[in-house]
């Protein structure tokens, strides 16, 4: 965004000479991430402990209670992907015996360690002191941390989060997660960190989380407006960044979301479209819902294929992978452990197929979208297995056209720009024809 909004002057970042155009909040987010990598690099020297945990179902508020510097391995992998470093890391891991068939996030992480343990920003990336294996919605997470533990001997704490196979959170599921937190996770985190657990401290962080979540939802739902002031997928990954990673619950995240929301509301008031790396989108021609994570190695190129055609993603399921907030969930300081359990249990990939399809159909309706696009990711069976049924069901239920493209998270070998571009162009034509047919 080019118009500065003085919501939180103390939080306003130093503007960079932009070769790329970004909103102020995007610059701030970048600074926060860089600072976190710096904290990780210097943590051990400063006598601080490091935790690692996964994005979906991450218990950031709880980890903050023990003063851990927080690392999220998927974020490391995607940052390496965006910086074009992941290809070599994946090949190194494959040479080290890992199958070409398995998740490239895992191989990027293992390859990064093989290359000398420097993080995406080039600073050292020390071993975590604890691996909090909260494996919500992805079996691969379990193997991932077992692999890290095997190699480096890090202490690993399993938090088993049951799947919503029956489309609901049963009292048994919630109680199971709470019991693990109370009897296993919290005592172990106390022991490892040397910090005594203070539930009021947790409540304080959760209160901050709820405020930030409120603002995030306002930002995401701004896309219901025409034109949408945001892109809920490509732009969305910037918006969800602090919430889904090391910052949720911290006051700086609350400030970030307040600032972001103010920026977005102002854009909406002025009738502006989303910011793209080449400036503001002048005309919104297509409104899409996207299912599946983005490709990170060619993120800009991929995004350009959309904004060049005037396509805006008004809602995406990926923006719910670290928490589904837009249907009402908020961290609740009044029932902290139960609320943490509900958060873990409710992340997008922990929902069953009928729930996922319902959510997509709802987005298509509520965001007045023209259709659904599925970006099917080779690495991610949790998202991808069965997506072709999602496509059929959504088309059948909404009558709106759906399209399917394939890529990968961080493996540059699986991004075929020409192929994807062709498919997108055909898809946009299809939407146009549907519109024309509806008019006649």
């Amino acid at each position: 965004m080019t118009t500065p909004i003085q919501v939180m002057p103390q939080a306003a970042p130093a503007r960079k000479p932009p070769s790329v155009q970004k909103e102020d909040a995007m610059w701030l987010q970048k600074e926060m991430i860089t600072r976190n990598y710096h904290e990780l690099a210097s943590a051990h020297a400063e006598g601080r402990k490091i935790s690692a945990t996964f994005v979906p179902g991450n218990l950031n508020e709880l980890l903050m209670c023990f003063d851990f510097v927080r690392r999220l391995p998927e974020t490391d992998a995607l940052q390496n992907g965006m910086r074009k470093k992941s290809g070599k890391m994946i090949m190194d891991a494959e040479r080290d015996g890992h199958s070409e068939d398995v998740c490239t996030y895992v191989k990027t992480d293992l390859g990064m360690m093989l290359q000398g343990e420097f993080g995406p920003t080039g600073e050292p990336m020390p071993h975590p002191d604890v691996l909090l294996l909260s494996y919500t919605g992805c079996f691969t997470f379990m193997k991932w941390f077992e692999l890290v533990r095997q190699k480096y001997g890090c202490e690993t704490l399993m938090l088993h989060v049951p799947y919503q196979g029956d489309a609901k959170i049963s009292p048994n599921m919630r109680e199971y997660v709470v019991r693990q937190l109370k009897d296993k996770i919290i005592p172990a985190l106390e022991r490892i960190s040397g910090v005594k657990f203070d539930i009021d401290r947790l409540r304080g962080y959760m209160k901050e989380s709820a405020k930030a979540e409120e603002d995030l939802v306002r930002v995401l739902q701004s896309a219901k407006h025409r034109p949408s002031p945001i892109d809920g997928y490509f732009g969305g990954v910037y918006y969800i960044g602090p919430m889904f990673t090391a910052f949720r619950g911290a006051p700086e995240a609350t400030r970030f979301y307040a600032m972001l929301n103010a920026e977005v509301q102002e854009r909406m008031r002025q009738g502006k479209g989303p910011m793209t790396p080449e400036g503001e989108l002048a005309e919104e021609k297509y409104r899409l819902v996207v299912e599946g994570p983005p490709n990170w190695t060619h993120f800009r190129e991929f995004w350009k294929m959309f904004y060049d055609e005037g396509a805006v993603v008004v809602a995406s399921t990926y923006a719910k992978v670290g928490g589904v907030y837009d249907f009402g969930f908020r961290h609740d300081p009044e029932r902290p452990l139960e609320s943490l359990a509900d958060y873990c249990l409710g992340c997008y990939t922990n929902l069953n197929f009928p729930q996922r399809i319902d959510m997509i159909c709802r987005y298509l309706d509520e965001y007045s979208a023209d259709g659904l696009l599925i970006n099917s990711i080779k690495s991610c069976n949790s998202f991808s297995a069965g997506q072709l049924l999602i496509l059929r069901e959504v088309e059948k239920r909404t009558g709106k056209p759906a399209a399917f493209i394939e890529s990968d998270l961080v493996d540059p070998r699986y991004f075929s720009a020409a192929n994807i571009k062709n498919r997108l162009e055909s898809y946009f034509q299809m939407i146009k024809q549907k519109r024309a047919a509806a008019v006649h």
Partner: protein, 390 residues
């Protein structure tokens, strides 16, 4: 009079090849109101289904004899084969004889298939069956007992009457007997692998996926008697453990190829459901609690199950190698099988530390080209027999 070996094997082969599940249909037709419940790998407590008077039916994909057409339309090229052939079985009416399907907690693909099944087969009972990854009785055990109770309640609704504790205890006894027979079968093969080729053992296990457990136990016992009486040539083969094939199944030809290439398979992880619980489940006490304790403390290790401690990794495999007197390990994993392929480097690391040789390849249930596998298995057997330090 004892049943001749060739008749036993022919019967098992017939059951294995019948993808219309005629034996299940016959079982159902034999008494009014009978129901059959399908389950996928790796493990479900079949005792609950049996106690409800229903037939548990193991669904292990479509094998290499079935052409998959509709199933392919639901999956991208990088997804393993078992879900697509299972969908094909369902969409072509081959699973119409099943009144329900259980999808155990094994991987993201089977997990997602549970929801797909809910959408595609709305008139059937469908359940994703979660098992604990926390092994404390008071935490994971408590959760698991509740999950089993939910399944028990569902099955009671299906049959229109509660499933009693006594019925459960009786079923535990039936499956204890079946597990004893399977343990004897595995011990027999390990002692005299030339007398019980793995292809025969495999067919016997597959028969156990569709037969009532009582009948299957009798069949295994008959086989053991018949196989012991058979005169077969002992070869100087390498003794290997095959691991990685706990979900999608290799074609029979692949098992034959490994053995023809000079390897005796002396242990494996095929159809672990039959050997998941490692010893007797007490037939007294609270049946769900006893099943839970057996699961938490006395069950097999497999990639879908979390290893609580780093030192636990590979323990079960090492034990298989040690107790069966194996000389090496063959990693046979289905292509795109996340659990098996992610686990493999860790197990290989453990084996290397114990100086146990291994070889690895991938397969799909419809793999047709056996020459490369025969060559690799043959080279592996040679490396053990001809060039090892021993």
């Amino acid at each position: 009079m004892n049943t001749p070996l060739k008749d036993i094997i022919a019967r098992c082969e017939g059951l294995f090849e019948d993808l219309r599940f005629a034996s299940v249909q016959e079982w159902k037709a034999a008494a009014p109101g009978r129901k059959a419940i399908g389950y996928m790998p790796i493990y479900v407590p079949r005792e609950l289904i049996h106690a409800a008077g229903m037939l548990p039916v193991g669904i292990f994909g479509g094998g290499d004899q079935m052409e998959v057409i509709q199933g392919d339309a639901y999956y991208q090229s990088y997804i393993c084969r078992i879900p697509r052939s299972t969908v094909e079985l369902g969409l072509t009416g081959r699973l119409d004889c099943l009144d329900g399907m259980l999808f155990p907690s094994i991987c993201d693909v089977i997990r997602n298939l549970s929801g797909m099944w809910q959408i595609m087969f709305k008139d059937k009972y469908v359940k994703y069956f979660d098992v604990p990854q926390d092994y404390d009785d008071a935490i994971g055990g408590e959760f698991y007992v509740h999950e089993m109770q939910a399944l028990r309640d569902d099955l009671a609704r299906l049959r229109g009457a509660p499933v009693t504790d006594d019925e459960l205890r009786a079923s535990i006894a039936v499956y204890n007997d079946n597990r004893r027979a399977i343990r004897d079968l595995y011990a027999f093969r390990a002692q005299q692998p030339w007398q019980a080729p793995t292809v025969e053992l495999y067919l016997l296990l597959r028969a156990g996926c569709v037969l009532p457990p009582e009948e299957h136990t009798r069949l295994v016992r008959e086989y053991l008697a018949a196989a012991a009486a058979e005169k077969r040539t002992k070869r100087d083969n390498a003794r290997v453990v095959l691991t990685g094939a706990f979900c999608e199944q290799p074609p029979l030809g692949l098992i034959k190829s490994i053995e023809m290439a000079g390897c005796y398979i002396v242990d494996d992880d095929f159809m672990l459901v039959m050997r998941w619980l490692l010893d007797e489940v007490p037939e007294q006490g609270d049946p769900l609690v006893e099943l839970s304790k057996a699961f938490l403390h006395r069950s097999a290790q497999t990639p879908s199950k979390y290893d609580d401690k780093k030192e636990d990794k590979g323990k079960y495999l090492l034990e298989q190698v040690r107790t069966r007197g194996a000389e090496g390990v063959v990693f046979a994993s289905p292509s795109f099988c996340d659990p098996a392929l992610l686990e493999r480097p860790m197990l290989q690391d453990v084996l290397a530390k114990h100086k146990i040789p291994y070889t690895a390849f991938k397969f799909a249930e419809n793999t047709g080209q056996m020459a490369p596998i025969r060559e690799q298995a043959g080279t592996f057997a040679d490396s053990i027999k001809l060039w090892s330090a021993a």
